[in-house]
């Protein structure tokens, strides 16, 4: 039975949806529209005049080796973050699902990192890995390893991946745990009687049954790695050393607000907008796929 309220006039319903429409308009349509508009213009270096350039900003981007490199960086970064945060979360969820005593405590503690804002997470990890004052980098120094993510590309990438993973594991953990708990226990028991031991059961029964959840999380994590990691990268590496941790969204910021090339920055955000659009379509298309149980 569908419960629906019918309004007679148009005034009240209009009034009720205005706040939501206003928020969408101010925080989504207006900036997105402005970005699309600006992507077609080029301001002069002093911001005194702008010139219509058509798709020249896009043309420039597609021939810009730095932009290509940023794509490549983003791909590596998002694959690593997605893989590690999901893998780790799944592992923890499988263990937590088997817990009988203290399950509540473990689950609560595992959810905590999610409450830490990305920029704060970046600062927390800097306390550990700062090249001069970091605790872990000091210990690494004692072991004879000179940790310096300000100079070493791989160390920089490793560090932002680690922080991004750490602050994402909770989210994935929650979803995986819910997914695991939704699998009827009798199916697992039937597999146990059929002779499958724990890991065999996991790979032949549990993991396939989790696949809708896994797919959902892949999309969500790619989106996360693309956009929400800005704060982490900004506090830890600022995109450096060189361009080694400049993912697309960071390049939008650094080209626009540091380099003051607003036209190019706007064009980059339009490209990101299209990428998000594609990911969203994928998500909607496959999330409809029926869950088996």
């Amino acid at each position: 039975m569908e419960k629906r309220v019918y309004f007679k006039g148009w005034f009240l319903p209009a009034l009720l949806i205005v706040p939501q429409l206003a928020i969408t308009a101010i925080f989504f349509f207006y900036p997105a529209g402005t970005a699309i508009w600006w992507s077609l213009f080029n301001p002069d270096p002093f911001g005194l005049s702008t010139k219509f350039v058509g798709f020249a900003n896009f043309d420039f981007l597609f021939s810009d080796p730095y932009y290509k490199e940023s794509f490549y960086t983003t791909a590596i970064f998002s694959v690593l973050v997605t893989f590690f945060s999901m893998g780790l979360a799944l592992f923890l969820a499988v263990l937590a699902d088997r817990l009988i005593k203290g399950a509540g405590i473990y689950q609560t503690l595992l959810i905590w990192p999610y409450a830490v804002a990305p920029a704060i997470a970046g600062i927390l990890w800097l306390f550990l890995f700062d090249t001069r004052t970091g605790l872990i980098s000091w210990y690494l120094g004692l072991l004879g390893y000179d940790w310096n993510h300000l100079l070493n590309h791989n160390e920089a990438m490793g560090l932002v991946v680690a922080v991004s993973t750490w602050s994402r594991v909770s989210y994935n953990f929650l979803f995986f745990l819910a997914g695991l708990q939704a699998i009827p226990s009798t199916i697992i028991e039937a597999a146990a009687i059929d002779g499958a031991r724990f890991w065999k059961r996991f790979w032949t029964i549990v993991f396939p049954l989790l696949s809708p959840m896994t797919f959902f999380l892949v999309v969500m994590n790619v989106v996360y790695a693309f956009f929400d990691t800005f704060g982490i990268i900004h506090t830890i590496t600022k995109g450096g050393p060189g361009q080694s941790t400049t993912i697309l969204v960071y390049k939008v910021y650094s080209d626009g607000f540091v380099g003051l090339d607003l036209g190019s920055s706007a064009a980059q955000s339009v490209i990101l907008l299209i990428i998000v659009g594609i990911l969203t379509i994928l998500q909607f298309k496959f999330v409809e796929k029926k869950v088996h149980y």
Binding site: I187, E189, A190, A191, D194, G195, P208
Partner: protein, 352 residues
């Protein structure tokens, strides 16, 4: 040779004791039905035999081998679950073949065994389907097929028919029975439905609050219930239980009615009268004030109270009985052999 032996099996969850010591010997090829109301521990008992719950105390032996500490997979059993527990992402074939693949059987033998199992259960045409493309009855068959192909020493059924509609349930009941007779595999079947228990069982276990009230053939349990619980639980409509006093020759019901009996027992008892043993008789001594009439076709069930008391009694009369013809009172007689007597203190049967 015993297919399955339970020796003083106990189960407790923390401090709560759910099964208080059950002893049973199951012969090879026997069909045992464990019947009882929900919460009596019957499913727990089955899960202990399957190895899905550990045994708190006592021993479980399968083929004379103690299996208390063995994993389910090492017990040589197969189980059919109430919700079938089919693997939703696998075809019918793969559902049935899963256990065989893990056992490492050669492909040709797996295919052969699944084919035979599918034939037996008329699943031939469905092997490529996914469980969600099957009806309830077909899923039930696949669940049984999965159990059969493994050729286990013991089949365990955990209320496998309770998710089916009434008609299908009767049909599957017959199929399970004939399949079990054909295969000759020792089987344990848990149900709360006494008709299922009566029709399927070679022997049945009537369970109540973690205790086996009676273990015996369905007719034994019906004709000579050992306890008040077994007497009331088996038989439909349920047996009338009336407070009474026995003086060694006759039984005096609480309303003063005196019935002839064959017992030597002296003292306070419960008298058990099956509704179908109450025979309408103008000279009968049992007088019932009728409140409700339920015609069910071949017979009629009369609900009412024993005259001069508040005790509810039920009688079942053969043949049609027009509700409009009902009288405010009817009298019945009962043959002395049909009166069941139970000790008022212990609830145990008193034999004549």
């Amino acid at each position: 040779m015993a297919g399955l032996t339970l020796r003083n099996v106990h189960k407790s969850f923390g401090k709560v004791k759910v099964i208080h010591g059950i002893d049973m010997e199951v012969e090879n090829g026997e069909f045992i039905v464990i019947v009882g109301p929900s919460g009596c521990g019957k499913s727990t008992l089955l899960r202990m035999i399957a190895g899905l719950e550990n045994v708190s105390d006592g021993d479980v032996l399968i083929d004379n081998l103690k299996v208390n500490d063995k994993e389910p997979m090492d017990r040589n059993i197969a189980m059919v679950f109430q919700n079938y527990a089919l693997y939703p992402h696998m075809s019918v074939f793969n559902n049935m073949a899963y256990g065989l693949k893990i056992a490492g059987l050669p492909k040709s033998e797996i295919a052969e065994r699944v084919r035979q199992g599918a034939m037996m259960l008329e699943l031939d045409g469905l092997l490529d389907r996914k469980p969600r493309e099957l009806s309830g009855g077909q899923r039930q068959r696949v669940a049984m097929g999965r159990a059969i192909v493994r050729q286990p020493a013991v089949f365990l059924f955990d209320e496998p028919l309770s998710n089916l509609d009434a008609k299908l349930r009767i049909q599957m009941r017959l199929e399970i029975k004939s399949l079990q007779q054909r295969l000759g595999t020792t089987s344990l079947f848990v149900t709360h439905d006494q008709i299922e228990a009566m029709t399927l069982a070679d022997r049945m276990v009537v369970m109540n609050e973690g205790v086996a009230e009676q273990i015996g053939s369905p007719l034994d349990v019906f004709q000579k219930p050992e306890t008040i619980f077994a007497a009331e639980f088996i038989g439909s409509p349920a047996m009338n239980i009336i407070k009474a006093i026995s003086d060694g020759q006759s039984v005096k019901l609480e309303n003063g009615t005196i019935l002839k009996s064959l017992t030597q027992f002296n003292g306070e008892i419960w008298a058990g009268l099956r509704p179908e043993d109450l025979i309408p008789d103008k000279k009968g001594k049992i007088i019932m004030q009728i409140k409700m009439v339920e015609p069910i076709g071949a017979s009629t069930i009369l609900h009412g109270t024993l005259k001069n008391s508040d005790t509810q009694i039920v009688s079942m009369v053969q043949g049609l009985f027009n509700p409009r013809d009902r009288q405010p009172e009817m009298s019945f007689s009962i043959s002395p052999e049909a009166i069941h007597l139970f000790n008022r203190d212990t609830g145990k049967r008193i034999d004549n």
